[in-house]
Structure formats: structure tokens, C-alpha cells
Amino acid sequence: MSGATQNSEASVGNLARIESYQHLYVVIEHEEGVPVPVSLEMLGEARRLMDNFNVRYSSNEKVVAVVLGDNVRHLCQELIRFGADVVVYADNHSLKHYTNLLYTKIICQIAEDKNVARSISPNRSENYKKPRYMFFSADNTGRHLSSTVLAQLESGLASDINKLVISDLEIRHEHKTKGQPVKFEKTLEMYRPDFSGFLWTTILCLDNRNPAIAREYHPQSCSIIPGVFEPITKEDQRTGTIIDFEPQISGEDLRIKVLSRNIIKSTIDFESCKIIVSYGRGIRDSPEDNFKLIEQFAKALNAEIGISLPISKRPYQTKDQHLLSYMIPERVIGTSGRKVSPVVYIAIGISGAVQHLAGMKESGFVVVINPDSDAAFRDECDIFIKGRLEEVLPILTEQIKKHMLMIEKRA
């Protein structure tokens, strides 16, 4: 410990105790060497959280990006420009494609590696065990990867988070604290919108301080919903540490083989259309007839058709194959589907759960058709037509057709 006093990091503030859990590790996902957007969004939020953390706790903990792949060295500098202090990368031909088994093992190797910790923070690593916090993306890959990594690291994981706060909390819990009030410092409050989109649950990952079941739980980890956090503005001048990690790979780890990998572009084109018409559970009174009205309306506007998440679960009994082809996950707008930003977005019979709003809030102009003027969507639109779609759509469609005809005649 004597050496620590000469260390500028350790001499700041009250740091006599060198902690076993340090830094925020962000697991980066990329596709053929290009970071997927959520990776940069996670780095942005990590940067903001750790800047505050370091001021508040007079500390110098880092944002550590972890990236695996084949030929990914070129990514490292880019990740630093987007907020990472340190990038740990593992470059290996067998990491070309993600397999859960191998990626989990290597991420855990990096997370628990003392030499990596020493390179990150040379004079404060002697007690290092595991990261303090860890972020993953809440997409298909990150969801599974976060689960297996945390099963291996034996700590807690919250999924689908859209708000994060670090604070000191006094907790009184039957099991965690045996009912006594205990202060938990530097606790990550992980906010998760529930499936309805109206409730927010705050999840904490806490050590068991109850002596009968005492156990430490770190890292505090979560998967983060794509599209909710802002990346930082790219800073070309930012500098950081790049660590080349040599992974330990056994033959057993290579037993999952990716035989082929095919990219499919969706035939549903939300990107180049100007208008998107989406519908939700508001069609329930007569799904088949109401869908016809929506389709005619969309056709008049030359719009693509989207849906809210509940519709993709096919909540209606119907044999109408055409309607069924408009109740598929590929059409979902929102955090469980696509993120869109058309010139005009029209939401019909959609209440406006946060997950849906996250998928369309960048749209240029938003029109809502809903009989309930208290629907959450009222605060996220430019025009709110209060009425039943059965009555509004036929009128609106006729008017659009009529005006279109006049425009065409003039031309």
C-alpha cells in the first residue's frame, strides 16, 4: 500500500482502501467491423455516468470497451473517440463470428484478468477481482451474452434498461440486510420499463450483507435497449489506452461451428418511404374490416404499414391470410422492432407505450388517431384526432384522394 501514496490517482480523496471492483466495462457489438449503433450509445451513457462518478467520489475509474473479433484493431481508436478510456480487444480468427460459448469465456477472461486491470490502472489494481459495472446491448446477441457472462461471474443482471443512475442508497431488506438499514455505496439503479410500457421497475444488484448468507455480487450489470441513449459527439482528439488481449482458447471452446451466415434485407422498406401508417390494438372491434380501412388509407398516402408490438403476437382469431401477413414481427415499430424516422408518422389505435415511442420519436410530423384523448401518445404528436378509426379513416381517405386528383389535374 505504501506505493499507493505516490500515485496521483490514489492520492486524490480518501482512497486508503483499494477496491476489488472497479471500472465500467462495456461489451461492444459490431457487424463486420462497424460498431452497431447501440454500442456507441452505451459508451455515451457510460461516459456521462463515469464522469459524474469520478467527480462525486474523487475517483479515477475508467470506461473500458471490450471488443472481440477477427481483425478489429482498427475499431479501437474509434471507440476511444466515442468515449472509451480503455479498449481491450481480442483479435483471433476463431472470433470472426459470434458464438455464445467462446465469446462468454473470453469476455469473462478479460473481466477477471489482473494484468488487464494493471494496465488500466497501474497503481490501484492489486485487489482487483471483477468490474464494478458492466453493460451489454439488449439485442439478440447481447441478451444471451450478458446472461451467460453473468452466470459465469455469478452476479446480477437486469435486462432492457432505459435509465441509469449511480447513487448511495440506504437499504432495508429481509434477506440482503436481515432487515437492518445498510448503506450501499455507488449503487447502479437500473430502470426497466415493463411490458405494458407504463410502469418503471428499478432493479438493484446488491451484495448480501446479511451474515447468514453473506456474498458479494459484482459486477452490477444490465442490458441496454438500443436507441434510448445518445452517443457523445465524436472527439477526434480523445486519447486512451489500447490493450491487446491474448485469449486462452481450448479445443472444447471451439465445438460450436458457424457453417454459414446469410444477411437478409427485409422486403419491408421503412427507410425510403415518406409516410408510415401504424396500427395497434385499437382495431380490436373488427380487426378484418378495420385493417381494410387502414390499408386503403395507407395506399392513398403511398405509405408503408407498421404495427405496435402487441399486434405481432396475433391477439385476434382470423383466417385472413392477408391481414396475418401484416401482423408479423418485421413490421413492429419500437424497441422490440424497427426504429423509423419518416417525414410523417401516423399512429392509429396505438396508446403510446414508451417502447413504441422510442421507435418513432424522430419522425418529422406525427398524427395520432385515437378515441381516448388521454392516451400517452397525446404528448408525442403534432395532431391528435380524437375519434374512432372506423369513422375517421373513411372520411380522411376520401379527402386525400379528392385533393390528390386535383393536384394531378393541375399538373
Binding site: H97, T99, N100, L101, T104, D139, N140, R143, H144, S147, A151, G156, L157, S159, I171, K176, E189, D194, F195, S196, G197, L199, W200, T201, T202, I203, C205, L206, N208, I256, K257, V258, N262, I263, I264, K265, E271, K274, L301, K313, P315, R338, K339, V343, V344, V354, F365, V367, D379, E380, D382, F384, K386, G387, E391, V392, Q399, H403, M404, I407
Partner: protein, 296 residues
């Protein structure tokens, strides 16, 4: 030489029925749990269908397990009806209550090892995620604790019984990027999660006959499902009480609140849906936006 029989395990969950007419919401938009009935979740049903595929195709032994209160045996009965399962397992103990995904995975890990007369499973199948919890973590965490490699979002698979391996296609959605279909080969044992779109197909006459025979058997079994039901408590599973239920859960729910409305970024103009003059203004506005905007 006869091939070794295939043992399949499925983990399922009893969930609120979110289908129209069955689900009930409170006035504030949250789920009314008291009024909403519970069913075998749709993703659990997809996993169960994958087990049925193994039953028809490979004459597999199928065991289905769930952790939950005694009422969860209804999910097992429904799953037996779908899959013609040979064993139904209910892992039920008051000390399991309140478990997070890690502590749930611990119970399921022990449960899988009891399946198929203690032989365990060559393939364990789970759903993509539960409709109510929606974390999607329990499957992969159970896999890791079993030391089975995890293959997620499987849309199609077949087993090479002699080669003791699986060939699986998986679907990966990279929101905003594109979608990917991957073909995977892995030796057994393995843990897969069935993608929500998973649907088995049966092409040959003999397979179709086998489907009919199995469904017939399944109906008879499910009528007496309790005969196939094994209930395990913590002791029966040999669980360490420190690793299950609340004591074994790293995470807690700290608070639940209504999501505050975001500050309105747009200035909303209200239009009466019965007023054709106002609607005509909207129609004109839409056409104006449509014709002004450059094509992206």
C-alpha cells in the same frame, strides 16, 4: 446397431394470457393480474413444439419442467397436450419464491438433471423469453450452469443421432442494420431457445401418421396428466438454500413507479374526429408534407 435414444428436456413458464379478450388492463394501462387468466406462454409453447418435433422425428423421450407454485401444473398439462411428453416436472417450494433469473436458473439446472429418469437431457429447449418477465435470461443462464453450450433464436433444426450432433438455423435481428440467418453445428448435449417464429414441418407420410398417433396419445395422457407429474421441492432437488429464491438472487426490485410522461417536445393540436372541415385540414396538411419533402 441401434442408436442411443434421444432425451429431450423443455423448460416452460405459466404466464398471463395476453391475447385479446383474455387480457385485462387497469385504467392506468398496467396489467390487471387478478382478472387475467394464466396459460402456457406462447414462447414456451414454441419450445414445446420443438420437443414434439423430436418426439415425432426421433422418437425422443420428452420431459417438461417448470418452476412455480402448484397452479403452474396447468402449464405442464398444456405442454403435454402439445408434445406428448413422458414426464412432467414441477419444481415448487416456498423458498423458491421471489427468485431472479440466476436463482431460477439454479433450480432449473437441478431440475434438468432429474429429467428422463435421472438421465438428464441431450437437448434442453426453452422459449425465447417470457411474456411477463421478458428478460430472456433464464434460458441461457440455465444452459451455462448446466455447462451446455447455448444456441439462441433457433428457427429450424435437425439431429444427427449417430453423430450425436445438432444442425440448427438461427435468426438474428440486428435492429436497424439487417437480419442474419446462421447455420450452426454443435455436438450434443446442447441447449437451444426456440425463436418465436419456430414451426416444425412434417413432410413424409410416416411422419404425418406419427403426428396423429402422438397427438392422440397426448390427449389421453393429458386427461390423466397427474399420473405423469413429479413434484420436487428444494430438498428433493438437493438445492442449496443459499443459491435459490431470494437469498440466491443478486438482484432485487427496489421500486416500481409509473413512468412519468416525457416533457412534450411537440405542440399538439386537437382535432375532433367528427368534424369533416377539420379533417379536411389534416388531409391537406398531409398532402403538403408529402409533396414538399424531398425523397430520402
Amino acid at each position: 446397431m441401434p442408436v442411443r435414444p434421444l432425451n429431450v428436456g423443455v423448460i416452460v413458464k405459466l404466464e398471463p394470457d395476453f391475447s385479446e379478450g383474455n387480457v385485462s388492463y387497469n385504467p392506468d394501462g398496467t396489467l390487471n393480474r387478478a382478472e387475467t387468466k394464466n396459460i402456457l406462454g406462447p414462447h414456451s409453447a414454441a419450445a414445446t413444439l420443438a420437443a414434439f418435433y423430436c418426439k415425432v422425428k426421433y422418437d425422443a423421450k420428452v420431459a417438461i419442467g417448470t418452476m412455480g407454485p402448484p397452479i403452474a401444473n396447468q402449464a405442464l398439462r398444456q405442454a403435454q397436450l402439445i408434445s406428448n411428453a413422458d414426464e412432467l416436472h414441477l419444481y415448487s417450494d416456498r423458498i423458491f419464491a421471489g427468485a431472479d433469473t440466476l436463482a431460477t436458473a439454479e433450480v432449473l439446472r437441478l431440475g434438468v438433471s432429474r429429467m428422463n429418469k435421472g438421465l438428464g437431457a441431450d437437448i434442453v429447449i426453452s422459449g425465447h423469453r417470457a411474456s411477463d418477465g421478458e428478460t430472456g435470461q433464464t434460458g441461457p443462464q440455465t444452459a451455462w450452469k448446466l455447462s451446455y453450450p447455448f444456441i439462441g433464436n433457433v428457427i429450424d433444426f435437425h439431429i444427427d443421432q449417430e453423430g450425436r450432433s445438432i444442425y440448427a438455423k438461427r435468426f438474428i435481428s440486428l435492429y436497424g442494420f439487417y437480419d442474419v440467418i446462421e447455420e450452426i453445428q454443435a455436438p450434443l448435449p446442447v441447449f437451444i431457445s426456440a425463436d418465436p417464429s419456430y414451426k416444425p414441418s412434417f413432410n413424409t407420410i410416416s411422419e404425418r401418421l406419427s403426428v396423429a398417433r402422438n397427438l392422440n396419445e397426448a390427449r389421453n395422457k393429458a386427461d390423466n396428466f397427474e399420473k405423469y407429474l413429479q413434484v420436487y421441492n428444494s430438498e428433493g432437488l438437493g438445492a442449496d438454500p443459499r443459491y435459490v429464491g431470494l437469498p440466491g438472487s443478486p438482484t432485487i426490485v427496489y421500486k416500481v413507479e409509473k413512468i412519468p410522461k416525457a416533457k412534450a417536445k411537440r405542440r399538439v393540436e386537437f382535432v375532433d374526429g367528427n368534424d369533416t372541415v377539420q379533417l379536411d385540414m389534416v388531409a391537406k396538411k398531409l398532402l403538403q408534407l408529402m409533396t414538399e419533402a424531398p425523397i430520402k
